[in-house]
C-alpha cells in the first residue's frame, strides 16, 4: 500500500510543524523520515497515522483518501518510542489486544487468536515471554513486543516513531538490523522517524530529510549521502568541514587549491562554501602537493581502527576535522603539536547568493 501526502500543513499555535509537505512513499519500502528535533517528522508520522489531523492537505493510502478516516479504522500499525505497552496486561494479552477489540462478527475465535499471537511472538523471537508483564522485559524486548502487537491486526502500513530512541547503543544496532531483516520478510510499507542519520542510512530504502517542517531532500540513502541537495542535508548527514572558496569558471578555489568537485559546473560565480567530509581530507607529510594548506595537529582521538584529527589551519577560525586509518597515522608519525599539510580531496560547493568573491586566503569558518 503506497502512501501519498499532498500539501499537508500543520500548526501548533504559532509553531509551524509541517509546512506544505508533498511526498509519495512507495509500496513495500521502508522509508526513513530523518531530521533534527522540531523538524516536523513526528508530526507528519502522526498525521499519516491519524493521531493528528492536518490543518490542510490530504493523505491517501493507495490512492484512496484517508484524511478523514478515524485512526482506529485506518489500518495502521504504530510503534511508539517508549513502547506504550499496556502495563497491566501480559505480553500475550498485549499482542492479542487488537484482535480482541474487534467487533464480535469479525473477531477470530479464541483458538485462532492464540495461534496468531503465538506465531507473532515466534516472529519476534519472544514466545517464551507470553505470560510476563511488560515491566519484566528489557527495553529491546519491549519494543519487539510492541512491534508484534502492531503487526497482529495485519496493518496496511507500519509506522514507527523513533523506535530505537530509548535503547542503548548496542541493542539499538542489533534491533535495527533485525528490523531490516523483518522488513525484507514481510514487505510491509513502513515509515520510521529518526534523528540518527546512521540509523536512516543503514536501515531504509528511502530517506526523506526534513527540516523546519519542510522536506529538504528525498532519495535512496546513497543519493542523499553522495549528492546532498543543499548545505543543510550535507551537514546533517555527517560531520563536515567548511572552507570559504572562490567559484570561477566552474571551479572552486580554496587559496591555490582547485577543488575537484563533481557539481561545480552549474555553479554561478561568486563566493562559495565548500563542504568537505572528514574522510575527504588528505593528510600530507610535506607541502609537495599543489595547494596543500599548512596545519598544526591540535588533538588526536583513536576510535577503534580510525584516527580522528583536529587540525588548526593558519588563518582559519574553526578547527578542521579529518579521519584516517590508524595505520596511516602511524606511518605519518603525527602527534599532538606536529606540523603537517592538509588538502580537501573531494567536496561540494554551495554558492552563497548575493556575495561577492571574498578574501581568498580566508579558510574555514
Amino acid at each position: 500500500m503506497s502512501i501519498e501526502i499532498e500539501h499537508v500543513n500543520k500548526r501548533f499555535g504559532h509553531f509551524v510543524a509541517v509546512d506544505d509537505v508533498t511526498l509519495s512513499l512507495p509500496e513495500g519500502q521502508l522509508t526513513a523520515l530523518l531530521g533534527p528535533s522540531g523538524s516536523g517528522k513526528t508530526s507528519l508520522l502522526r498525521i499519516i497515522a491519524g493521531l493528528e489531523f492536518p490543518d490542510s492537505g490530504r493523505i491517501r493510502f493507495h490512492g484512496e483518501d484517508a484524511t478523514d478516516v478515524h485512526v482506529s479504522r485506518r489500518g495502521v500499525g504504530f510503534v511508539f518510542q517508549h513502547y506504550a505497552l499496556f502495563k497491566h496486561m501480559t505480553v500475550f494479552d498485549n499482542v492479542a489486544y487488537g484482535l480482541t477489540v474487534q467487533p464480535r462478527r469479525l473477531r477470530p475465535s479464541k483458538a485462532e487468536i492464540r495461534n496468531r499471537v503465538t506465531r507473532l511472538l515466534e516472529l519476534v523471537q519472544l514466545d517464551w515471554t507470553a505470560n510476563r508483564l511488560p515491566a519484566q522485559l528489557s527495553g529491546g524486548q519491549r519494543q519487539r513486543i510492541a512491534l508484534a502487537r502492531a503487526l497482529a491486526v495485519e496493518p496496511k502500513v507500519l509506522l514507527l516513531d523513533e523506535p530505537f530512541g530509548a535503547l542503548d547503543a548496542k541493542v539499538r544496532a542489533e534491533l535495527r538490523r533485525w528490523l531490516r531483516r523483518l522488513h525484507d520478510e514481510i514487505h510491509l510499507t513502513s515509515v520510521f522517524v529518526t534523528h540518527d542519520q546512521e540509523e536512516a542510512l543503514e536501515v531504509s530504502d528511502r530517506i526523506v530529510v526534513m527540516n523546519q517542517g519542510r522536506v529538504e531532500q528525498e532519495g535512496t540513502p546513497e543519493e542523499v549521502y553522495d549528492h546532498p541537495a543543499n548545505p543543510f542535508v550535507f551537514s546533517f548527514l555527517g560531520q563536515v568541514n567548511l572552507f570559504h572558496a572562490r567559484v570561477q569558471d566552474g571551479q572552486a578555489r580554496i587559496g591555490d587549491l582547485a577543488l575537484p568537485t563533481a557539481a561545480t559546473g552549474d555553479q554561478p560565480e561568486g563566493h562559495g562554501l565548500a563542504y568537505v567530509r572528514p574522510h575527504d581530507i588528505e593528510i600530507l607529510a610535506d607541502d609537495s602537493a599543489q595547494g596543500a594548506l599548512a596545519a598544526v595537529v591540535e588533538g588526536i582521538t583513536v576510535v577503534g581502527p580510525t584516527a580522528r584529527l583536529e587540525l588548526k589551519v593558519a588563518g582559519a577560525r574553526d578547527l578542521i576535522h579529518a579521519e584516517l586509518p590508524k595505520s596511516r597515522l602511524r606511518s605519518l608519525g603525527l602527534s599532538q603539536g606536529s606540523n603537517t599539510w592538509v588538502r580537501p580531496l573531494n567536496g561540494r560547493v554551495f554558492v552563497e547568493p548575493g556575495r561577492t568573491p571574498a578574501d581568498p586566503e580566508s579558510v574555514g569558518m
Binding site: S72, F78, F86, Y97, R132
Partner: protein, 295 residues
C-alpha cells in the same frame, strides 16, 4: 565470567560494614521512628481507644441498644443513603473531569481545575449557607421549588447536595496528576489497534488509574459519612429524619448520653476501618495476581 561473579560475591560479603551515603546512624533512625510512633499513638491510636472504651464501657448490651434505638437507626440509614448516592456521582464526575483535564487541551482548563478545588477552600458552614440562600424558602429558587412542592432545604435532597458539593474534589484530585503523568500513549496505541473510545477507556485507561480511583472513593466515602458543618446548616436537625450520624452523635453528646454518643462514634470509626481493610485486601490480591502472572 565465573571469576567475575565470585569476585562480586566476595565484595558483597565484605559489604555489611559499609554504609550508604543516605543512611543515618542507628540512634538517629531510632529517634525518628520513635517520634513518629509516639505522635501516631497520641493523635490516632489513643483517641480511637477512647472511643472504643467509651462505647463498650457499660457492656455490649448498652452499645447494642444505643445503635438499634430508632433515631440512631434512622441516622445510620440516612448516612448510608447519602453515601450510596454521593459517591457514585462524584466518582463519575471525578473520572470525567480528570480525563478531560489530563488528556485534552481546551480553553478554560485552568478555570476548571480551580473550580474543582473550590469546595476545599470554602468553609463547610459557608457551603451550607450558600445552599440555604439559593434553595431555602426565602432564597432565589425557593418560591419556584415551593410551587412545585419540592422540599430541598431541611430535607434529604439538601443534605445530598451539600455533601456532594463538599466531597466533589476527592476523586478528581487523586486522578488528575496520575493521568497527566501517564500521558496518552497507551490510549493512542489502543486506538491505532482498532479499539473505539469506549473500549479504550474500559480496557486501558481504567485499569491504569484503578488505584487512584479506589483511593479517591475511600477518601470521598469517609468524608461523605463524616461531613458535619454544611449538613448541620441545611438539614434542620430533625431527629429521626434529617440527622446523619455525625449530627446524631452531637445531639446525644449534648444530652449527656456519652455512652450512646461513643457507641455511634464507634460505628463510624468501624466503617472507616472496614474501608481501609477492604482497600488493603484488594491491594494484596492484586499484588498476588501480579506475582502469579510473573511466575
Amino acid at each position: 565470567m565465573s571469576t567475575i561473579a565470585s569476585h562480586i560475591h566476595g565484595t558483597r560479603a565484605a559489604a555489611p560494614t559499609w554504609r550508604r551515603a543516605t543512611e543515618e546512624p542507628a540512634w538517629v533512625r531510632r529517634l525518628l521512628i520513635g517520634i513518629a510512633l509516639g505522635f501516631l499513638s497520641l493523635f490516632l491510636v489513643l483517641p480511637l481507644t477512647v472511643v472504643l472504651y467509651g462505647a463498650f464501657e457499660q457492656g455490649l448490651q448498652v452499645w447494642y441498644a444505643a445503635i438499634t434505638e430508632p433515631d440512631a437507626q434512622a441516622a445510620i440509614r440516612l448516612t448510608l443513603l447519602v453515601v450510596a448516592i454521593v459517591v457514585p456521582i462524584n466518582l463519575v464526575f471525578g473520572v470525567m473531569a480528570a480525563w478531560a483535564i489530563a488528556k485534552f487541551e481546551f480553553r478554560g482548563k485552568s478555570v476548571l481545575i480551580t473550580l474543582i478545588d473550590l469546595p476545599f477552600a470554602i468553609s463547610p458552614v459557608v457551603v451550607g449557607l450558600i445552599f440555604v440562600i439559593l434553595l431555602g424558602s426565602q432564597g432565589w429558587l425557593g418560591p419556584w421549588l415551593a410551587e412545585h412542592d419540592l422540599r430541598v432545604i431541611f430535607a434529604v435532597p439538601g443534605i445530598i447536595i451539600v455533601i456532594a458539593f463538599g466531597t466533589m474534589p476527592f476523586v478528581a484530585r487523586e486522578l488528575i496528576p496520575l493521568m497527566q503523568q501517564q500521558g496518552k500513549e497507551e490510549e493512542e496505541s489502543s486506538l491505532t489497534l482498532g479499539a473505539n473510545g469506549w473500549q479504550t477507556f474500559w480496557r486501558v485507561t481504567l485499569p491504569n488509574i484503578k488505584w487512584g480511583v479506589i483511593y479517591g472513593v475511600i477518601l470521598c466515602n469517609a468524608r461523605a459519612m463524616g461531613e458535619f458543618g454544611a449538613v448541620a446548616v441545611v438539614s434542620g436537625r430533625i431527629r429521626g429524619e434529617t440527622n446523619t450520624m455525625p449530627l446524631h452523635i452531637e445531639v446525644l453528646y449534648n444530652e449527656y448520653l456519652f455512652t450512646a454518643a461513643f457507641a455511634v462514634s464507634s460505628l463510624l470509626a468501624g466503617l472507616a476501618i472496614v474501608t481501609i481493610a477492604v482497600k488493603s485486601l484488594v491491594d494484596w490480591r492484586d499484588e498476588r495476581q501480579r506475582h502469579q502472572a510473573a511466575a
